[in-house]
């Protein structure tokens, strides 16, 4: 068994930052009663300006909003504790501190989303430990390659999602969880486990949660114990007698001797996520950034479900409460975020907003089985068919379903119906009939002076009396004034020539 523990030290902040158009602007999460709100977490830009957790909101705002002076004697601000030393060197511009209330519920939501993401690597994902995820990857290692490669992939995808993290892989989830307290990137197997755990300081070893009535940590410290290794060295009977069964059990879990019962996360098989705007958005272009984010999250979700989407819906929450729906249908099951974005963008180019948009919801009610086609494995015709399918999809997404037309031969005499309206049954016999021009002009045009000579004809086309679209025409191959070959007709017994096609 190989268990990965991912620890997210800044989950609340980074979850909130993902929703902001400029994550580099000063931003902080605030907490506490309305009269005494304090900073709970701050992003880098805010920390550089001296904002620290625990500060009163008003104070932190003053740090960010006051103009920053270039001159080193900008003394009035220096009373800020831990103020950034490099403040004097930066330009004098000030940026307002943006804040949002800390929301424990949203942290949990993010953790569940990340669990869904991790589900892409493992069927055993647990949210057992706060701020962390543990999941079993032994079987994934067979599929996805050795641990360093999987580790790089996990880190890469988390980086893309914008979550800082620490991770450790260990033979059991309990050990992984405590080791990630002090390590990042540590990989231990059965043999190395005991020694890795032995060096762990007791206050980092997850002992606090063993027994809420007794402070085991304090008891151990008073007894002179510093590190886990010292406890491992004691005879077990003595350990149990002096410190209770809870500690015994915890140590057993860490060493993998005592199985840990975990609840496993089961993701929901549909996707719905909303992006709220601070300011109403008036143009489609303004939706590009949130759309990209939402599609990224959709893609992560789909990978976790081992599924794709064939269609999804965008809902624009408009000012005034109404909702505009845009359905996006794909020709094939997709889940690659860039492909989804390209297709959605092409689709949106043809959409007019019905009003200022306050929120954007991406809704994928049904997932489809996704069979990834490995491009490099396909050869010749299969590869070409795949490329054609992708091109077809791209053209239809941008130009609309009706722009890309097939050529279908119908058994119908009237040229307009045969070519333009697709009436009648499909022609089955490939027998040669009278000659037809390569091009049909959409509507016959009067062309009396342009025909200089009739080269072949007439061919009487008389049809359609049964559906009211009856015609009675004599068609000729004619030479145009400039030498081109045209298909023209006149009605028997009447004046006037009409151009109806070209012999290319």
């Amino acid at each position: 068994m190989r268990w990965v523990c991912l620890l997210f030290p800044r989950l609340a902040l980074e979850g909130a930052l993902r929703r902001r158009p400029d994550p580099e602007a000063p931003f902080a999460l605030i907490d506490g009663p309305v009269q005494r709100q304090c900073i709970r977490a701050a992003n880098r830009a805010a920390r550089e300006r001296g904002v620290r957790p625990g500060q009163a909101l008003g104070f932190a705002e003053a740090l960010c909003n006051a103009p920053l002076f270039k001159a080193p004697d900008a003394a009035p601000l220096s009373k800020a504790p831990n103020s950034a030393p490099d403040r004097g060197s930066r330009s004098g511009s000030s940026q307002r501190l943006e804040t949002a209330p800390f929301d424990a519920e949203s942290v949990e939501r993010w953790r569940r989303r990340l669990a869904t993401w991790a589900y892409g690597f493992s069927a055993q994902v647990s949210l057992h430990y706060p701020h962390a995820l543990v999941f079993e990857v032994a079987s994934s290692l067979d599929l996805l390659g050795p641990w360093p490669r999987l580790e790089a992939r996990l880190r890469g995808e988390l980086g893309e999602l914008g979550f800082s993290h620490r991770l450790v892989i260990a033979p059991n989830p309990a050990a992984a969880r405590v080791l990630v307290n002090v390590h990042d990137g540590l990989a231990v197997d059965e043999n190395g486990l005991e020694s890795a755990l032995a060096t762990l300081r007791l206050d980092r070893a997850g002992l606090a949660s063993i027994d809420s009535d007794r402070d085991i940590l304090q008891t151990l410290n008073r007894s002179g114990f510093q590190r886990l290794g010292e406890l491992f060295a004691l005879p077990r009977s003595a350990l149990a007698r002096r410190f209770g069964g809870g500690l015994m059990r915890h140590l057993g879990e860490l060493r993998g001797e005592w199985p840990l019962a975990l609840d496993y996360h089961r993701p929901t098989p549909r996707f719905s996520r909303t992006f709220e705007f601070d300011q109403p958005v008036h143009a489609i272009a303004g939706l590009a950034f949130p759309l990209k984010r939402l599609l990224q999250e959709l893609s992560v979700f789909l990978v976790g479900q081992d599924a794709g989407v064939e269609r999804f819906r965008l809902q624009f929450g408009l000012e005034g409460g109404s909702v505009q729906h845009v359905g996006i249908g794909l020709l094939a099951v997709q889940r690659d975020p860039d492909t989804l974005l390209e297709l959605a963008r092409a689709h949106l180019e043809r959409v007019r907003l019905e009003g200022p948009v306050l929120s954007l919801t991406l809704f994928a009610p049904r997932l489809s089985d996704y069979a990834p086609t490995r491009r490099e494995l396909l050869e010749g015709p299969a590869r070409q068919a795949q490329a054609w399918a992708a091109l077809h999809q791209r053209l239809v997404a941008r130009l609309g379903e009706s722009a890309l037309r097939p050529l279908v031969e119908h058994r119908e005499h009237r040229p307009e119906m045969a070519v333009l309206n697709g009436a009648g049954p499909r022609a089955r016999d490939a027998s040669a009939g009278p000659s037809r021009p390569g091009w049909l002009v959409p509507a016959p045009q009067r062309c009396d002076g342009d025909v200089v000579q009739l080269l072949a004809g007439p061919e009487r086309i008389e049809s359609g009396w049964w559906d009211g679209g009856d015609i009675r025409r004599d068609y000729y191959l004619a030479q145009w004034v400039d030498g081109r070959h045209a298909w023209v007709w006149c009605e028997p017994g009447r004046q006037g020539w009409y151009l109806h096609g070209w012999f290319g």
Partner: protein
């Protein structure tokens, strides 16, 4: 790519230049452009390669195309105009999966033709671009430029890698 017309003998590569634009200049539809293209299009579609017509001068008449030997299932036409037509042509050329792309682009200038030429080269796709006679005097990056005169006669304006024959060539018979 053999053109299956008297042209083959005259062109340096023995046919249409592959992975490049062949430019056809004419006063409009009906100058025998299909008699010129149908042989190569029918061969490509019979090999199972899709072909795309971008903003053709009229609706292709299926019966006529089938009779010319073109496999209709492989034949697609895009009824779009203006910028969308240019975009679509470039996409089709770049995708590298089309047997041939035949486009009618009166709006394309020299810069756009260069862009399409690059797309045809990178997608390794046979391309035909029709433009009006007004563009005859304009410089063009297409390695082969043909001017279609009245029905079924053409003049080679430019062919890279060879001397352009000065006489007019009659090709393909009939309608």
């Amino acid at each position: 790519m053999p053109a299956a017309t008297p042209l083959d003998a005259l062109l340096p590569g023995g046919g249409w230049p592959p992975a490049a634009i062949s430019e056809l200049l004419s006063s409009g539809a009906g100058n025998g452009e299909l008699a010129l293209l149908w042989p190569v299009l029918s061969r490509l579609t019979r090999q199972g390669r899709p072909i795309v017509l971008v903003s053709p001068p009229g609706a292709p008449y299926p019966a006529a195309w089938r009779r010319a030997g073109v496999v209709l299932e492989q034949c697609h036409w895009l009824d779009v105009q203006g910028r969308e037509a240019l975009w679509a042509t470039e996409q089709c050329l770049r995708a590298g999966c089309c047997g041939a792309v035949v486009a009618w682009l009166a709006q394309a200038d020299g810069r756009l033709m260069r862009r399409l030429q690059v797309a045809a080269a990178s997608g390794d796709t046979l391309a035909f671009v029709h433009r009006p006679l007004a563009k005859v005097a304009e410089a063009s990056p297409a390695p082969l430029r043909l001017r279609l005169h009245r029905h079924a006669e053409l003049e080679v304006l430019k062919c890279r890698g060879g001397l352009a024959p000065s006489r007019r060539i009659a090709f393909g018979g009939g309608a």
